[in-house]
Symmetry: C2
Amino acid sequence: MKIDHTSDKDLSAQIATAIRDAIISGQLPVDERLPSEAELSEQFDVSRPTVREALKRLAAQSLIRTQRGATGGAFVNRLTFEDAYRQQITTSTLLLSMNAVSFETACEARYALERACAALSAGRREADHLATMRAEIHRQTQPGLSDEAFCASDVAFHRALVDGAVNPVLSYQLAGAVEAMQPLMNMITFSARSREEIIALHTRIADAIENQTPENADAALIELQNYTVRLANAVIAERAAQSG
Amino acid sequence: MKIDHTSDKDLSAQIATAIRDAIISGQLPVDERLPSEAELSEQFDVSRPTVREALKRLAAQSLIRTQRGATGGAFVNRLTFEDAYRQQITTSTLLLSMNAVSFETACEARYALERACAALSAGRREADHLATMRAEIHRQTQPGLSDEAFCASDVAFHRALVDGAVNPVLSYQLAGAVEAMQPLMNMITFSARSREEIIALHTRIADAIENQTPENADAALIELQNYTVRLANAVIAERAAQSG
DNA sequence: AGAGTTTTAATTGTCTTACAATTAAAAAGG
DNA sequence: CCTTTTTAATTGTAAGACAATTAAAACTCT
């Protein structure tokens, strides 16, 4: 592993890339200890602060973890699904908030992916995920529920639907799509009437999963998508009218 | 924005989190300039190297960019779809390589998502994406094509299929699933026979998109999924026999 | 006065040195 | 042999210095 001291790129960025490549290619297996910061600074012929900046870049991506003390150091970190979820959610959230993505586009993506999961969920029909869906539907019917709590329950319901596919890779991919929509969903103030409609559709979805009728789940999800978009457009139009 | 000097967490991690939260919440809009490193070190009451470590953490996630010179500094970066693609791909790749995910599970996730896109692609039927798909199919028929080039063309074909849905959010979500599979796909050495089958299925998919018959695209993708899994299992079994 | 050139100041990038905090192993002592 | 203390290795943090870069300000010449 060598770096170019005459390059216009930061040395710390080059070092981080070199180590990252070594991890991705498998040269550095999980839990392997990297050389100490002092050794790395010798190997790359840079100062220790520069090495540290490189290591912090890798730590920010959960690629390494560090430990102090005599037997401490930087270790190649096993990237867990939990870590990946978190990164995926923040990245997706920022992507939506920074790029003027229309509500409809985000919604289309979300429900397209979710319907794919629903088909698998209907086939697997896991008892615990189904129980979670029913429990969340029940929570959503509580009259005193705040809008925030309703939205949180909504997310939990859809998470259970997705997790019901029992495919961690799929759950990971969907985490961003479902969770990143929450800020957008929160801007929609749910009336009692719209909650009723949503709960009815949720019930249809849960029924479809239970009865292993994926086509019914598909239809209900499409209706939910359309209804959500209609609600959002109404809110957006109202706001435009108020400000204009 | 304040940090806790008595916490067991790294100061640089705390500072990075504080700034990241400010960006996500919108307090720091895109292209806003952060205070200089000297000012930040005063504000947080830490040394400049510590501030720099925090900034490198943010830079690693494409949340900020830095510029040298008189009017330089750290600026809130607009997270582009391109940046997000790259992160998504490396994260997905590491997730698969570090977590003993079965080929079938990864394949199931990938094709479930891809079929969702295909349905939309068939509805939109974009000329340029269709042209790319045809061009890649043609490339795949060239007899002298190396296995690596065939795999790359395969990825390009599927990317075009996904991009044909004309939904950047969807393309972003899929980027990881499609590209992260490539290392797994590369381990399958394609014989002339399997190339023929794959090209035939690709052609059926392209035809289905062109004719706006999503059910045909769906069927072909399912066949492709099954065929890919069969090939992979055969390779895995052969390797086990050789080593055992 | 205007255009081109030089200087200057601000900022990040890097290096050096030093010390604090933590931790496990080694040494010491009972 | 067990407990306690010391020690050494390692990361975390600090302070100060200089290099590199860049845009604006000052200057010079026509």
